[in-house]
């Protein structure tokens, strides 16, 4: 991946509602390449919906999303090719093995066969998954399956990485691996946005932080060492 500090992703007056209920209210927010941004907020605050909109899984109902000042349509294929999105509950066929699911996702992302095999081996090694590579996904622990899901989203080297609760179900060693990976990946110029409930992780990892409450962005700015007080104060 090219180093891409100039990358910027902007939300302008973005709103979204399910049925009659408003989930997001006029979100104005800018994210920069080469930075890790952490999205905090209680359950039901609208974090996942916001990530869906950014990943192009849903159209915005009001407002727009801009990539490098250009408005992007939610089905813009060029935009989607630049995105890696790990869902909160990533789907993986339980009967496919780790290496097969990674191949499948790499093939769907149009990674060339040689590059795909090289990339799979690299990320398997990186996430300490080599010994599991031929195990069916259904036989893995939640943490291991989650690492597979994250590794799969890195195969096409996206420059925008969206992660919904990436450390759920991981043990402390695995959390450290994920943390180091994200810091390393970010240093190559990627824009990383992750939602989490773990404030300790957010403090250690992020350059920027945002707090979402009841669909409103109540804080967006530099990440602080005392994010917890900021989070409590935002109530």
């Amino acid at each position: 991946m090219e180093k891409n500090i100039a990358l910027s992703l902007q939300l302008k007056q973005v709103s979204y509602a399910y049925g009659g209920k408003r989930i997001l209210h006029n979100i104005d927010w800018t994210l920069q390449g080469g930075e890790i941004t952490v999205l905090l907020g209680p359950n039901g605050a609208g974090k996942t919906t916001l990530l869906h909109l950014l990943a192009g899984m849903k159209p915005t109902q009001q407002g727009s999303i801009l990539l490098n000042q250009q408005v992007v349509h939610w089905q813009d294929q060029q935009y989607k090719k630049r995105i890696g999105y790990m869902m909160e509950f990533p789907f993986q066929y339980p009967f496919l093995t780790v290496i097969e699911i990674m191949r499948l996702i790499g093939q769907l992302r149009n990674v060339s066969p040689d590059q795909l095999e090289e990339s799979i081996q690299y990320w398997l090694k990186h996430f300490l998954l080599e010994s599991y590579s031929n195990y069916p996904i259904g036989t893995l622990s939640q943490g291991t399956a989650r690492r597979v899901a994250l590794a799969s989203q890195l195969l096409h080297e996206p420059d925008i990485l969206l992660l919904d609760e990436p450390t759920n179900g991981l043990d402390p060693d695995q959390v450290m691996i994920v943390r180091d990976t994200l810091q390393q990946y970010c240093s190559r110029g990627a824009l990383i946005l992750l939602s989490t409930h773990i404030i300790g992780l957010a403090e250690k990892l992020s350059h920027q932080a945002a707090i979402l409450r009841n669909g409103r962005l109540v804080y967006a700015g530099k990440s602080a060492e005392d994010l917890e007080s900021l989070y409590v104060a935002s109530k």
């Binding site: 989607k80 869902m87 496919l96 191949r103 996702i105």
Partner: protein, 337 residues
């Protein structure tokens, strides 16, 4: 696991062969003897297969001679079944050969069991050897295809259809193309229509880009299309040969063209119907009945009004193209992320 399934697969192949080659003049007793012959061969075959796999792994020269020997035994069994022998002689020879096969299989089991146990590897290395590992899209479709709940009714109906054709093809040759069309219908109705439902939440994987969506639909269309066309052509060729059909290049190409037209129409229709009902959450019983009714109508049109069938087929293919060219904007809640 191939070790567990192979005797049954061999037995089914044997029964199908028997169904094709046994003439109605066989008595029940003779048919039973032939079945015994087949089952003992299946037993012998599976142990030889295990030994062969082990030998091939160790690159032993004896592997080739063992493979040739097992083929020679198969040839012997087939000759006993097909040669115009007196019933008594056929029976005696079949009993002798079946007994020999059982004895050899029993002796062979002593040698091959340790090999079989060592060849039953832990989960991880077994998967490593999976030949389709490099083609996960295909592997996934084959997994859906071979699930017991779909496979079992399909095999039962398939056997019934073949049995019906066996008794009626000579008197009414029209049964053969209708049987071929019914086969394509079975493949489409049992597998293709439910293929979107089978994906479940996995469907979301393919909506990330247009390329991914194209790959999914192409893989499904080509895979089920190949199965439908093969089933249709093999069925027609085998049964036409049985009623002394004279083969010409023209007739074979016509058969291929007809199978291609019929299967492509059915597969496109089934994928469209499957997708349509998937977006509603599930395929209900009335919807399933409606799909089946439409498919019967298609078979009727293909047999009776080819021109009209061509029009309908074109409309269906255009509908499928519309589904193919855009990533769907909405998926049902249970299949979305």
């Amino acid at each position: 696991m191939i070790w567990k399934k192979s005797p049954f697969v061999l037995a089914i192949v044997w029964m199908l062969l028997g169904q094709l080659f046994w003439s109605p003049s066989y008595s029940i007793g003779q048919a039973f003897l032939m079945l015994l012959l087949g089952l003992s061969y299946a037993e012998l075959g599976v142990y030889c297969f295990v030994a062969l796999t082990g030998m091939a792994r160790e690159r032993k020269a004896r592997a080739l001679s063992l493979a040739l020997l097992i083929l020679a035994v198969l040839a012997l069994d087939l000759s006993i079944m097909m040669l115009p022998l007196m019933p008594a002689i056929r029976g005696i020879v079949a009993i002798v050969v079946a007994t020999l096969q059982c004895t050899v299989a029993f002796r062979a089991s002593h040698f091959t069991w340790p090999l079989m146990m060592s060849a039953a590897p832990p989960a991880e290395s077994r998967a490593k050897q999976h030949i389709l590992s490099r083609y996960p899209l295909l592997r996934k479709e084959i997994y859906f295809l071979t699930r017991f709940k779909d496979m079992f009714p399909l095999l039962i109906i398939l056997c019934l259809l073949q049995l019906f054709t066996y008794y009626s093809a000579v008197d009414s040759p029209i049964i053969i193309p209708i049987g071929a069309a019914l086969l394509v219908w079975l493949v489409s109705d049992v597998w293709v229509t439910s293929s979107f439902i089978n994906e479940g939440r996995g469907l979301a994987l393919y909506t990330v880009t247009l390329d991914a969506w194209h790959r999914l639909l192409r893989a499904k269309w080509l895979f089920y299309g190949a199965i439908g066309i093969s089933a249709s052509i093999v069925h027609t060729l085998v049964w036409q040969s049985r009623i002394a059909w004279s083969w010409t290049a023209g007739s074979v190409s016509e058969l291929c063209a007809q199978s291609l037209l019929l299967t492509s129409t059915f597969v496109s229709f089934s994928l469209l119907a499957g997708y349509h009902f998937t977006t509603q959450g599930r395929i209900s019983l009335p919807a399933q009945l409606l799909i089946t009714l439409c498919m019967f109508l298609l078979i009727y049109l293909q047999q009776a009004h080819l021109v009209l069938f061509l029009f309908v087929s074109t409309a269906i293919q255009l509908g499928f193209y519309r589904l193919y060219r855009r990533v769907p904007s909405s998926l049902p809640v249970k299949f979305s992320i």
